[in-house]
């Protein structure tokens, strides 16, 4: 298929359709409205169904019903809306239902603003909601990668029977770039028929009950152990990252994800032109986090720079990776303000001549 100029939000919607998702439940919230708008136009063309729910709470529970029926299903929202979905996401994880959720992050806390942010890193990777569960979290840095990751997300969700979160920001959703959908794309995982789905008790399979309730503590612990083993397999098999500029010697290693990493790559190219080489590890999966890749790349650097659109949430994972072996510096903007390539260049120069101070850890 030829490359097509598409807005990130529309590419995300089209990628879902290409992945066989014919059901979308959503609720309006800026800056991701183009995704439900695209789906409301596109799904009827492929015999699918779009429902505008009365709230994110309802949309996420519609996801539960549709996924429990064995169909591929997606929703999208932005930060405050994802908070409203959190309860259902816990139920989805508990009942082991495969769904894809897209969070186009906006700045917070509270109602915050509608411009890009990375303030939901903790929510996505550490504590989405009550109970003991994990989501696979995929963070694209381009429209093409957003489209690719959305398609992969459906395969991963089905394979692990777990919700998969695609974590973008307002930039990914709004910018236009050429994107290509590969024809004849094959699933990235071996997928089995969903015999567990509740599609009617006609005697062809055991009765299906979609459920996260285990009143017997021994049974619930067995379920927790089963889920833990699944999360361990994700950690073992699903780590994704991109290395940038690691083929040269470098003094500073940048760790950044999403569109911020894109900004950093521009700064790295500019610095290289002036003879300063900087490396970068860009986590593509935020859970599982590429601890080993960050550790190994940092071993060759004298210091590490974390760049984020937040108060510094990913720093905690970088710190875990480094185990205090390297000084960590931090560059950020918040509130919907963006980090510019110039700011990254200035920060790297400040680190070189001692004007930048190390992050103070609690």
């Amino acid at each position: 298929m030829a490359k097509k100029l598409m807005k990130g939000s529309e590419a995300i919607g089209e990628a879902a359709v290409q992945a066989g998702c014919h059901l979308f439940f959503g609720y309006p919230i800026t800056p991701q409205n183009e995704i439900p708008e695209y789906m409301s136009m596109r799904l009827p063309q492929v015999g699918g169904t779009f429902v505008q729910a009365e709230s994110e709470v309802a949309a996420s529970n519609m996801l539960y019903g549709a996924a429990g029926s064995g169909e591929r299903v997606m929703t999208s929202s932005s930060s405050p809306g994802v908070s409203l979905m959190a309860e259902a996401i816990s139920y989805l994880a508990g009942a082991e239902l495969p769904v894809v959720i897209v969070n186009i992050m906006r700045a917070g806390p509270g109602l915050g603003g509608i411009l890009p942010s990375q303030g939901d890193y903790f929510q996505a990777t550490k504590g989405m909601a009550h109970g003991d569960f994990r989501l696979l979290v995929l963070a694209p840095w381009s429209v093409q990668e957003a489209a690719d990751l959305v398609q992969d997300a459906f395969d991963l969700a089905d394979y692990y029977r777990n919700p998969v979160l695609v974590l973008g920001d307002g930039l990914i959703g709004q910018m236009m770039e050429p994107v290509e959908f590969r024809e004849g794309r094959l699933p990235i995982k071996p997928l089995e028929a969903k015999t567990w789905a509740a599609t009617g008790n006609d005697g062809s399979k055991p009765r299906s009950v979609i459920n996260s309730l285990f009143l017997d503590p021994e049974a619930l612990e067995r379920h927790n152990v089963h889920l833990k083993e699944k999360y361990d397999r994700m950690v073992r098999d699903e780590v994704r990252f991109q290395s940038y500029g690691l083929d040269r010697d470098y003094d500073v290693l940048i760790v950044a994800y999403g569109t911020v990493a894109r900004v950093c790559s521009t700064a790295i190219d500019e610095l290289a032109a002036s003879g300063v080489h900087v490396g970068m590890v860009r986590p593509v999966t935020l859970f599982p986090f590429p601890y080993q890749a960050v550790r190994e790349a940092a071993a060759r650097a004298s210091s590490v720079l974390v760049v984020e659109l937040s108060t510094g949430q990913m720093i905690e994972d970088v710190r875990l990776a480094l185990a205090n072996s390297k000084p960590i510096h931090f560059l950020n903007r918040m509130g919907g303000m963006l980090v510019s390539p110039d700011a990254v260049v200035d920060k790297i120069r400040a680190m070189a001549d001692g004007r930048s101070t190390e992050v103070v850890h609690a």
């Binding site: 059901l23 439940f25 169904t49 429902v51 729910a53 009365e54 709230s55 709470v57 309802a58 949309a59 529970n61 519609m62 996801l63 539960y64 019903g65 549709a66 996924a67 429990g68 029926s69 064995g70 169909e71 299903v73 309860e87 259902a88 139920y91 009942a95 509740a198 599609t199 009617g200 008790n201 006609d202 005697g203 009765r207 299906s208 009950v209 979609i210 459920n211 996260s212 309730l213």
Partner: protein
Amino acid sequence: MPETVFSRPEALRDVTTHYCPGCTHGTIHRLIAEVIDELGVRERTVGVAPVGCSVLAYNYFETDFHEASHGRAPAVATGIKRARPDLVVFSYQGDGDLASIGMAEIIHCANRGEKVTVVFVNNAIYGMTGGQMAPTTMPGQVATTCPLGRDVDHAGHPIRIAELLSTLRTPAFVARASVHTPLLAVNAKEMLRRAFSLQIEGRCFSLVEVLSTCPTNWGIPPAEATRWLEKTMLPYYPLGVFKTPESGSREPRPLDRGVR
């Protein structure tokens, strides 16, 4: 040859329920199961039971089931039916669930005209959590969170769901039944049959509210609970059909003569 004249419906599993003595959940379960059997749809029926006394209903019906979070069964049912329109989908919800935390979901499910059937069991109290005040608790009725009785100046009057939903244009069928006498149970079954039949015919949303006793949390013996339901609940929650596919929108009536 001996002839079987009464047996457990196929749609009901041969298990002991956790329901308290004198509670009518068991009767309502049986009526639903009989209707499912008689309509011949057991093999393509999927139930949804959210948090509340009925949260374990998936153990009692011989159909596929979804357990749902508190109040969200109409949204889950929407997801199931939109994903698989060939399935017969019903939710089974209590009054704390449907009329309090799940009010948004039930109104919008009804108003979208989802092709699902809702069985709404109203026993005027929170049962599973131990007898707290519900939106349906009667004025003056004692509950653990209104120990002096429901004060309508403080908590408002009980919500009448059948009346409320029948103001919507879309729903196909809204009715209220009770099962505290055999005759009323037969009527309730006919309402349930109508509700399921309309869904099977592809008509939209149907809901049957069923009044129920809760001797445990009302703090009175079962026989007395039946009398209490009759004396206290029936006058406020009248039985009957509130909306049919034929009835359109409600026209406002003019002010009575003499009112200025």
